[in-house]
């Protein structure tokens, strides 16, 4: 049933719970299992172990064989999710690290993304792939990539990257209720952030809207996922200098809420994107291109991107710091942006 129908049919008993990001994920999965009988949840270590980050803790004991562990076989996990979705289930599967999706990308791009279109909607693939990405100190080059651009270049796949704890809950739940295949990319550096009050059990949100996290008039900065912490810190710092940055949390790369971005750029006349992914071919290029195409006349300065340079990611923390966008890199770039 559609999200609207779903919301109409269930009694809303919105409450607030103090949750960390990973607990918000857990709460969303629990609610999904609870209220959508077709949901099944599986992946490596998700059941008995409760997930390598604890995101699925307690779900196997609560929901029995609807939650199970799998062999280390990403093609089998993703392929089976597609086949089960075609036959009426709503699988939520975990790919433990986004880097591991590359052993089975065929199932996502060549199979899952094609299903609805090629059958003119007679087959559907309402499934959710949960994964997480990003660097953490010490994480090696095979566990530290930000690969969202590959998936945002895969028509047919919805792609969301929750940053706030509330969104970790809401966006995952929306994904479960969405009839399209959805990739939810979490960031493990956020999992154990402090607990905050999260509205739970409220209406399911529609997918796709960006969120303005901070209003400002001097420049628009778009970002998503963990690097928003640095962007917001940079914006605070610049505010002390009298520079007011509007910070947009894009949240969804597909559907893409370009209207919110354009409206902001028309107001501020200056535009930057910040992402942790490598610069070249990153999704920042797409956004800068769209702004250039649609808001050229509004721009008072050349748009800018702050991103990880085109390198592999070194493991040592001090080397990572040297390559991954830091608050100082962002403030420096934005100072230039507003001074041009």
């Amino acid at each position: 049933m559609s999200i609207t129908e779903h919301n109409e049919h269930r009694p809303v008993t919105a409450e607030t719970a103090d949750l960390s990001y990973v607990l918000a994920v857990n709460a969303a999965l629990r609610r999904a299992l609870d209220e959508v009988p077709e949901v099944i949840l599986y992946g490596e270590d998700v059941a008995k172990g409760g997930g390598i980050f604890g995101a699925t803790r307690g779900l196997a004991s609560a929901f029995g064989d609807r939650v199970f562990d799998t062999p280390i076989s990403e093609s089998a996990i993703l392929g089976s999710a597609l086949g089960a979705a075609m036959l009426g289930r709503r699988p939520v599967v975990e790919i433990m690290w986004i880097d591991f999706a590359l052993v089975a990308l065929d199932q996502i791009v060549n199979q899952i993304a094609n299903t609805a279109y090629v059958s003119r909607g007679r087959w559907r693939a309402p499934l959710v792939i949960r994964t997480q990405q990003g660097h953490l100190p010490g994480a090696c080059a095979q566990h530290a990539q930000n690969l969202e651009a590959m998936f945002a270049h895969t028509p047919g796949l919805r792609v969301g990257l929750p940053y706030t704890t509330q969104d970790a809950y809401d966006m995952l739940l929306s994904a479960v209720h969405c009839d399209d295949p959805v990739l939810i990319i979490e960031n493990r550096s956020l999992y154990f952030r402090e607990r905050v009050p999260v509205a739970v059990n409220g209406p399911v949100q529609p997918i796709g809207a960006a969120a303005v996290r901070r209003a400002g008039s001097d420049a628009t900065v778009v970002a998503w996922s963990a690097v928003l912490a640095e962007v917001l810190a940079a914006a605070d710092e610049l505010s002390g200098e009298g520079i007011e940055i509007e910070v947009i949390d894009l949240r969804w790369l597909n559907p893409l809420d370009e209207a919110t971005v354009f409206a902001s750029v028309r107001k501020t006349s200056r535009f930057a994107v910040v992402h942790e992914a490598n610069l070249t071919g990153g999704f920042g290029g797409e956004l800068v291109a769209r702004v250039a195409e649609r808001c050229l006349g509004d721009l008072d300065a050349a748009p800018r991107r702050v991103a990880t340079p085109d390198l592999r990611i070194p493991a040592a923390p001090h080397l990572q710091q040297a390559v991954i966008p830091q608050v100082a890199d962002i403030t420096a770039s934005l100072r230039q942006l507003v001074s041009e």
Binding site: G79, G83, P91, I207
Partner: protein, 325 residues
């Protein structure tokens, strides 16, 4: 090779023969349409392999699902997809299974629980785990059948599917359609042991090699596998030995063939074999000719309908990308 352990009579075999003839004439028609450039792009014919599809699908219940490969026109037809919808698909018509979006190598039909052909070697096997998994929850008793080639067995995803299905005792039947060739390459040069059914053992599932040019042998082996699966006995692998009596694609020069190979294959291909058997059961050649004529008429009629049908609408080409907007 294990022997068929199933009884059958002339009527039964006649019906299998008819269906094989439909597949044969369908493929020959596709070949003609392709040579005439009415159909564009690669088409992969299963000429000579009809007994595998017909025998296997005869062992399925309507509730059971199928995933096939790009060489799957016959599998679609055997699963119940109307020949006209298949031909129309290749011709890009609105009444085609996918309105021309799938094409020869990637067509599907939700109405017939045909999850689809697949143009990525080995990719159908993991997908076939899904309906079997769903079967656990929906109480349907569904069995999921997946067919792939001898070459495909070397794709990692197929091994993953073997293990996943075996570990969870899923109701999956793996059919390896062994025609000895992967495009231009011989399977015996690409494996250390070309008894491919033996792969199953290492994953803890039963494997069997059968004569894939005999629809009864195929049906018997697949039925056994389907019954085991439906009863909760888990997956199995059936290796069906057959021969492709055409090129891999149209225009294939078949330089990889050994001398006399195709000629020999022609003496033991399914329609020749089953005509012979029908003769032994007392069915006259004239009777068999009648059956084949009926099959040909069916394909001819379907061709005419498909040809006359409207091309799919270019104006709707952007639709159905997403269910939710």
């Amino acid at each position: 090779m294990s022997e068929p352990r199933e009884t059958f009579d002339a009527d039964d075999l006649r019906e299998l023969h008819r269906m094989m003839a439909v597949l044969r004439f369908l493929e020959e028609r596709v070949k003609e349409l392709r040579l005439a450039e009415e159909v564009r792009g690669s088409v992969h014919l299963a000429l000579g392999q009809e007994a595998v599809a017909v025998g296997a699908c005869a062992a399925l219940a309507p509730i059971d699902t199928l995933t096939a490969t790009y060489r799957g026109h016959g599998w679609a037809a055997a699963k119940g997809v109307p020949v006209v919808a298949i031909l129309a698909e290749l011709l890009g018509k609105e009444i085609g299974t996918n309105g021309g979006r799938g094409g020869s190598a990637y067509l599907s039909s939700a109405d017939h629980l045909f999850l689809g052909e697949n143009s990525i070697v080995g990719a159908g096997a993991p997908i076939a785990l899904g309906p079997a998994l769903a079967s656990r929850y929906d109480g349907s008793g569904r069995v999921s059948l997946t067919v792939f080639g001898d070459g495909a067995i070397n794709q990692g995803s197929v091994s993953e599917a073997f293990n996943f299905a075996a570990a969870f005792a899923l109701p999956v039947v793996f059919v390896c359609e062994n025609n000895g060739l992967s495009e231009l390459t011989r399977i015996d040069e690409m494996v250390a042991d070309d008894q491919l059914w033996r792969r199953a053992g290492g994953f803890g599932l039963p494997g069997v090699r059968i004569d894939g040019n005999d629809p009864v042998a195929v049906r018997t082996a697949v039925r056994e596998a389907v019954e085991r699966a439906r009863a909760g006995g888990g997956p199995s692998l059936v290796e069906a030995m057959t021969e492709r009596i055409a090129g891999h694609y149209i225009g294939d020069h078949e330089l990889y063939r050994r001398p006399g190979e195709v000629e020999a294959a022609l003496t033991r291909e399914p329609l020749v074999r089953s005509r012979q058997r029908l003769r032994e059961l007392g069915v006259s050649d004239a009777d068999v000719d009648d059956v084949e004529r009926g099959a040909r008429d069916e394909v001819d009629a379907a061709t005419a309908t498909a040809r006359d049908a409207e091309l799919s609408q270019s104006s709707t080409v952007r639709e159905h990308m997403y269910v939710d907007h």
